[in-house]
Amino acid sequence: MEKMSFEMESRACNEQFARVVVAVFLSRLDPTVEELDDVKTAVSEAVTNCVIHGYEEGEGIIRVEVSLEGRTATVRVIDHGVGIADVKKAMEPMYTSCPEKERSGMGFSFMEAFMDELKVESEPGKGTVVTMTKIIGGTEQ
């Protein structure tokens, strides 16, 4: 098992930073361009959720942990923000808690579409942990 983690401030400009760092770490598994793009999209969605919803565009720290075991990549995105009262509802396609901001409501749907597994644990007032896994190279071998 190989592990990597980092913490960063909750800022929109860090969304790109986070997905690029994760992609560089994953590149040692020799992923296809599509696999790498899939993970980058999922990471971007999870981090954007922390920035917009978890910390409501205010201050906070986002932690990203990546572990590789065989060909399985696990990415955890952790915030200590407001949390989600109803995770099931938040994960419904097209649901958005802030329609006035023109959010697509597809964040969790994209994470599900681009990763193999998605788990969301949250507690109001405590924060949210999103755990996503993807098997790299699974389709070729």
Partner: protein, 110 residues
């Protein structure tokens, strides 16, 4: 590091050349920049040019859908051009590929 967005207005068509990465950060600029044109001049059609774009997440989808709704309300349209494989996949998964007609990329004036 923010990619640049270029706006070209030709008659009543607004061409928006999108940056390499479209995420939440840059989507706010795309919304504000495009809407500023919609308010100050008569735009009947927006063409989003993806020819430089290699990454888009659901924030970009939100920005596209917002502009689509706005243009539809006033009887205008939103079209796309220069769409590569990655962006095509994103549009298909978001199920908005059928809403946005694709046109040939216009010859760029140097």
């Amino acid at each position: 590091m923010k990619g640049s967005i270029r706006y070209d207005k030709e008659n009543t068509t607004l061409y928006v050349r999108l940056p390499e990465d479209i995420d939440h950060y840059i989507s706010e600029d795309i919304k504000a920049g495009t809407d500023a044109y919609l308010e100050k001049s008569c735009i009947r059609c927006i063409v989003f040019d993806f020819s430089r774009t290699v990454f888009m997440d659901s924030s970009g989808v939100g920005a596209l859908m917002g502009r689509y709704k706005r243009m539809k309300e006033k009887g205008g349209c939103v079209m796309i051009c220069g769409v590569g494989d990655r962006i095509r996949r994103i549009l298909r998964i978001a199920a908005i590929d059928t809403l946005l007609p694709e046109i040939e990329k216009k010859e760029s004036k140097s």
